[in-house]
Symmetry: C2
Subunit: 178 residues, 2 copies
């Protein structure tokens, strides 16, 4: 994917539709990737994203210690990798190697972007006060990248147990909503 | 819609794909509806939902005071109502009347279900500690309803400014993920 710098003010439009995402992390020379669907926008600009990362995931410790990650948005071409990444643990394997994904150096965080995803959001942990109770992290997006040639990204929306809806038809209505 | 009681353990599968929802509230004999996209699942069972409701919305006060609401999930037939509801204020009008929607008595909360939505989740406020800082409410779903005849609901996913993706094709992969 040919990603270029993407305005922070427009980041909400990438996550608000609710796509499954791949979260990449790096810590002490190791990288990891996890599949995540439990996220929400919390502020337009600077963009804040709230997300649940279970303590059972190796990524939980990577994120807590490094305080950085990248939220990568895949399209349906990557469905098998999305499910495969969700079904194994980074404690045992190198997920970039196993799933043939390309780590790309980020500009502001040590976690790598995933080259094959159409958008990538470099994030820093902004608030951890709900981590103990709910595993809920609040992240600030500090740099965004997207392939803007993709006008209607066929994102994946997880309905549970490996069943996804693919983003289909576009409906456009006059609105004063942001 | 012919909704019947829906298992709480399966609620996550309704919200995890990220559909735009209509939140109904009731307080002191008045009802209101707002359009919302900033929500995430936070726990499987009992189902917890985190959501941002701006203090500019009349629904913010309704929810804070009544501590109850219903999260209703519309499909694309209701796209015009979804946008219309997002573009006006319940301080001035009765949104059920204006948009021709049917208030249906809930079983456990005073807020009404919206008859025309294929699923409705009765909620109570469970945690308000991030309300002051982020307008972020954590809700517990106490009773769920869904029309299970609708196998592939054509939900709406907001990409900003009145542009939605409609849930399209279904992809099913073998997975051990919940």
């Amino acid at each position: 994917m040919k990603k270029s710098a993407f305005p922070l003010a427009k980041v909400y439009g990438l996550l608000e539709p609710g796509p499954v995402v791949l979260v990449s992390t790096a810590h002490k020379g190791k990288t990891n990737i996890m599949t995540m669907s439990w996220h929400t926008m919390m502020e337009f600009e600077p963009p804040l994203v709230g997300c649940v990362i279970s303590g059972r995931n190796a990524s939980f410790d990577m994120l807590r210690k490094s305080r950085e990650c990248v939220i990568n948005i895949p399209t349906q071409e990557l469905a098998k990798q999305v499910v495969g990444i969700g079904n194994c643990s980074g404690r045992e394997i190198d997920k970039f190697a196993r799933f043939g994904l390309t780590p790309v150096t980020a500009s502001q965080v040590r976690a790598p972007l995933i080259g094959e995803c159409y958008a990538s959001l470099e994030c820093r942990v902004a608030d951890t006060r709900l981590v103990n109770r709910y595993n809920f992290f609040i992240l600030e997006v500090v740099q965004a990248w997207a392939d803007t040639a993709i006008k209607h990204p066929q994102t994946l929306h997880h309905r549970g147990k490996g069943v996804f809806s693919v983003a289909g038809e576009t409906v456009k209505l006059r609105s004063r909503m942001k």
